[in-house]
């Protein structure tokens, strides 16, 4: 014994050699070889056993049988080893000794060996009761001992157990697989796929094999092809997929140093390298690797579903008499709840059947038969440019696109058969394209289909659900198919290298839909949606959406409200279809806020109409041309600070003058410039100052104090808190002294701002001294309107009243005392009727929207108006 190598140390040595060979890439049949060296070990242990020979093999024959993966010769580096010690009759007492001899040394070297000791009868009755046991026995393989015992076992397993329980077993298998798919269908498993249990994992293949063995008594996997269950090319592809996934799994066992079947992030990059993937077409090696893996697993998953579906149907129908068959449209028929072609020749005669069958599938909610999918693939060469451009083909395609979602996805079937890429070759680079991060859960092609699916679900949202709002918007869209097309192709730019997939994609879709013969306007809409599909989310998260200018700029992108609806829905669907990291309630709220703000601006039409955009652009150009002394960059910065309303309503020569004032302002508290308008008897006084609450009332007060009658005023606040107040005042009666008057105004204003001049008492005297020559006329009652609906950013207060000296000061002072900050104001006087409009926020920068506050403000203003006119009247 000491001279000879023990079977176990031989096993260890062989295994090491085998692994070394595998890592060098020199052992394509590792799994089989691995199982075989285990077989050798068992055989030698058995032969050298001291207990074995005393167990009267002639009286009670026994055998060592490999089960499970070991039985299938699918032995990975760290797989466990399942063995059955089978006895023809009862289990003798010596069996324990044999187990000690054979299995204990294997445990000692750290092998995970599980064994069962059973008699033939126990095995069979257990298999009837417990389908897990049945499953492991289906894979049983003879290792050593009496081989006829193994044959007995398999014969009875098929002849008795499966004949009696076959149907229940297949139902059980199919149910268990559905459970497994549900459990591993979670998005985390897409990022880190489970190679064994996951969707398209090796279990899917095993399940096919079990079903095949139970149903058709198949011995070798190859029989699947020989018996016509798979075509030659399908079997070929299946073998390739299996070989790839198996190699990955074996490497994963090696890298992780344990029986690890889930492809965690930490191993993905390493695996891509060892498997020889290289950076290609702007894709990282790991993205290429994961793309290939997804492709193979997807294939396996589909084969599994088709195969199992067929087996379940076949079993279930065994009692019925005849297949139902009906023609749904010439050339296409429905057989057993699946659509098929009448004959392959029919396709040759009428290639459009290739798309018609998908259309029917979408309309009827019936899937394509396995055979039909296969035929579509084989005849794809018929899809040429003429086919792609055909009106009828595009119409059918569009019907699939807009059809209500079923339990299965027809678009997915179009993608899987290659039909979609045949129709839109631009999508080719997207199939199984992976983006390597934790954010993008799905390959690009799957993500696009999910986006379409989610768009349709949003459109279909029931009124009492969370998504009802989206459903409402969807129904407002006149051409929802344009939105769905955009959803299907919004990431098509990812098929190319380089950055900016949105603009790349916009170019591509222009090309696609021109080829398809879409009207120009529709092409514009789709390419707009593709171009801007990230815009709303970026703005919501990265920009200050409480800044009116940002929102107005955002609104100017949309030619109408419907485009906003479409882009908003696309943004929601795109984010949801990306993965859990790209969408949550938090983002939903941010995005909805932005949506509403943009919506209101578009609905009001004032600031973001195409005309408004034009006007502002023209002014900008004009100012840039004329302000030659200022560097372009400074001008850009300044323009960025100007509010949309200011830019829209201020003539460009005034903007120029304001810029000049602002440049001169420096550390001064304010600058005042008075100008006479030729041929009129009024003056324009422009004040540029650092804004603070109460500024406006102080200016108005100082003007009144100096007998300057205010005819009108415009107040703007730049975003950098620079106030530009433009007053129209009546020329002073004595124009000779005008310069002195303005000097006094500046002086007073300086004192007032410093708090050295108390305006209230000074004005009180003034108003009393101001013997107004107001005539007695019929007064209409004062009106104060507080409007919170027009703007998302400001509360708008409109005041209609009769003019009296110091009115503007009184009103603005009241607003200040109500703790309101004036951002924009328009003051207009017609004869003695005054219309004042103020855009205000409270000192915190918020709109005033509580009904209590609103009532208090109205009350305060009305009181001011009443007192003011009384005062004025008293002194008449």
């Amino acid at each position: 014994m000491s001279l000879l190598k023990s079977p176990v140390s031989a096993l260890q040595e062989n295994k090491e050699k085998l692994i070394a060979c595998f890592l060098r890439g020199g052992e394509p049949c590792f799994l089989e070889r691995h199982a075989e060296i285990l077989d050798d070990c068992f055989r030698e242990s058995f032969a050298g056993s001291s207990v074995g020979p005393g167990m009267r093999m002639d009286k009670n024959p026994y055998a060592i049988i490999a089960l499970g993966g070991y039985g299938r010769k699918e032995q990975y580096i760290h797989s466990d080893v399942d063995v059955l010690l089978l006895f023809k009759k009862r289990i003798p007492d010596e069996a324990k000794g044999l187990i000690q001899e054979i299995f204990y040394p294997l445990w000692d070297i750290g092998l995970d060996v599980g064994y069962a000791t059973r008699s033939l009868r126990e095995c069979l009755s257990l298999a009837c009761r417990d389908f897990e046991v049945l499953t492991s026995l289906i894979d049983a393989r003879f290792v050593c001992g009496i081989s006829s015992l193994y044959s007995d076992l398999m014969e009875q397993l098929h002849g008795k157990v499966l004949r009696r329980h076959g149907r229940a077993y297949i139902d059980w298998l199919s149910e268990r697989n559905q459970d497994r798919h549900a459990r591993f269908g979670d998005s985390t498993y897409l990022l880190e796929p489970n190679l064994k249990e996951g969707l398209g994992g090796l279990r899917d293949y095993h399940a096919m094999l079990w079903v095949a063995r139970a149903t058709y008594d198949i011995r070798e996997p190859r029989d699947l092809e020989f018996l016509g269950h798979l075509s030659h090319s399908e079997f070929q592809s299946l073998s390739e997929a299996l070989s790839f996934i198996r190699t990955v799994r074996n490497w994963l066992h090696h890298l992780s140093g344990r029986k690890c079947d889930q492809l965690y992030f930490e191993y993905q990059v390493k695996l891509a390298r060892v498997l020889g993937f290289k950076q290609k077409n702007g894709q990282q090696a790991v993205e290429g690797f994961l793309g290939a893996l997804h492709g193979q697993m997807e294939f396996l998953k589909r084969q599994h579903l088709m195969f199992l579906g067929k087996a379940v149907r076949a079993k279930g129908r065994s009692g019925r008499r005849k297949a139902t068959r009906r023609t749904v449209t010439p050339g296409i028929e429905l057989v057993h709840d699946a659509l098929g072609f009448e004959s392959p020749e029919a396709i040759l005669r009428k290639p459009q059947l290739l798309i018609k069958i998908f259309e029917q599938s979408a309309i009827l909610g019936q899937p394509l038969s396995v055979e039909a999918s296969r035929l579509v693939k084989e005849f794809l060469y018929l899809v040429d440019e003429k086919f792609q451009r055909s009106r009828r083909v595009i119409k059918s395609f569009q019907r699939v696109l807009v059809a209500q979602p079923h339990t299965f996805n027809v678009l997915n079937e179009m993608l899987n058969t290659g039909m979609m890429v045949a129709l839109i070759p631009e999508m080719k680079g997207l199939v199984n394209r992976i983006q390597y991060d934790e954010y993008h859960v799905y390959p690009v092609d799957k993500h696009l289909l999910r986006t379409v699916q989610i768009l349709k679900e949003l459109g279909d949202a029931r009124p009492d659900t969370q998504d009802a709002f989206y459903g409402k918007l969807f129904k407002e869209i006149r051409n929802p198919e344009l939105l769905l097309w955009a959803g299907l192709l919004h990431d098509v730019g990812k098929s190319r290298d380089g950055h900016g997939h949105a603009s790349q994609g916009a170019k591509i879709v222009r090309h696609v839909f021109t080829r398809m013969g879409f009207p120009g306007q529709d092409i514009e809409t789709i390419s707009f949606l593709v171009q801007e599909h990230l815009f709303l989310m970026h703005t919501a998260i990265r920009r200050d959406i409480n800044d009116e200018k940002i929102v107005v700029q955002c609104a100017r992108k949309f030619c109408d409200i419907e485009h906003l609806y479409m882009l908003y829905l696309l943004t929601v669907a795109d984010s949801r279809a990306t993965g859990p990291k790209a969408w949550n309630d938090w983002m939903a709220v941010l995005l909805k806020e932005l949506f509403f703000k943009v919506y209101h601006i578009l609905e009001r039409g004032e600031l973001a109409t195409p005309t408004a955009t034009d006007v502002v652009e023209r002014k900008k150009k004009d100012v840039f041309q004329r302000a030659v002394s200022l560097p372009r960059k400074t001008l850009e910065v300044l323009f960025d600070q100007m509010s949309p309303r200011y830019l829209l309503y201020t003539p460009s020569q005034d903007i120029l003058r304001h810029i000049e004032l602002y440049q001169r302002l420096g550390q001064e508290p304010f600058l005042l410039e008075a100008q006479a308008s030729p041929g009129t008897n009024y003056r324009t006084a422009t004040i540029c100052a650092r804004d603070f609450p109460g500024l406006f009332s102080k200016i108005a007060g100082v003007f009144t104090l100096n007998n300057l009658d205010i005819l009108g005023a415009q107040i703007y606040t730049w975003r950098n808190h620079i106030a530009l107040d433009i007053f129209k005042v009546k020329a002073p009666p004595d124009t000779l002294l005008e310069n002195e008057i303005w000097a006094r105004v500046k002086n007073d204003l300086r004192s007032a701002l410093k708090g050295e001049l108390a305006l209230e008492p000074a004005l009180g005297e003034k108003v009393r001294a101001y013997r107004s020559l107001q005539k007695k006329i019929l007064r209409r009652p004062d009106k104060v309107v507080v409007d919170n609906e027009t703007s998302n950013f400001f509360t708008i207060i409109e005041i209609y009243t009769h003019d009296f000296p110091g009115l503007l000061y009184k009103i603005t002072d009241t607003l200040f005392r109500c703790k309101l900050d004036i951002w924009v104001a328009k003051i207009a006087t017609k004869v003695d009727q005054v219309v004042d409009v103020f855009y205000v926020r409270d000192f915190d920068g918020q709109k005033v929207d509580s009904s209590k506050e609103i009532a208090a403000i109205k009350e305060a203003i009305k009181e001011t108006l009443a007192n003011g006119s009384k005062e004025a009247k008293v002194h008449q």
Partner: protein, 112 residues
């Protein structure tokens, strides 16, 4: 050691992060939070139906630093997160008793 928590406007994250990286802060926790303070929620009306926006989406930043560094961190956040409008958020500074790095078992300063 101090723990500094700041609730900021979402679009200010990049600025704040950049500012903190510049002064050598390497780690921080960022979470999406919702709440309201003086900036209240509001109601939006679309085609007659009301949509209530109760909470304002914000980001919460957590940074743990040595006490000496805390004033500097606070200053950077304050500066970078400011827009001057309502809802710029708040910064909370608390004293921290202990920090343990689970992997190595390091404690205190070493574990930050």
């Amino acid at each position: 050691m101090k723990k500094i928590e700041a609730v900021i406007k979402p679009f200010k994250l990049d600025d704040v992060k950049e500012g903190l990286t510049e002064i050598g802060i390497q780690g921080m926790t960022v979470s999406e939070v919702k709440g309201f303070g003086r900036q209240r929620g509001h109601t939006e009306i679309y085609r007659g139906a009301e949509y209530r926006v109760d909470f304002v989406p914000k980001l919460k930043l957590e940074v743990v630093v040595d006490s000496d560094l805390a004033p500097q961190v606070v200053e950077v956040i304050e500066q970078k997160a400011k827009t001057g409008a309502i809802g710029d958020g708040k910064i909370f500074v608390t004293s921290l008793e202990e920090v343990i790095r689970i992997r190595t078992g390091e404690r205190g300063k070493e574990a930050i």
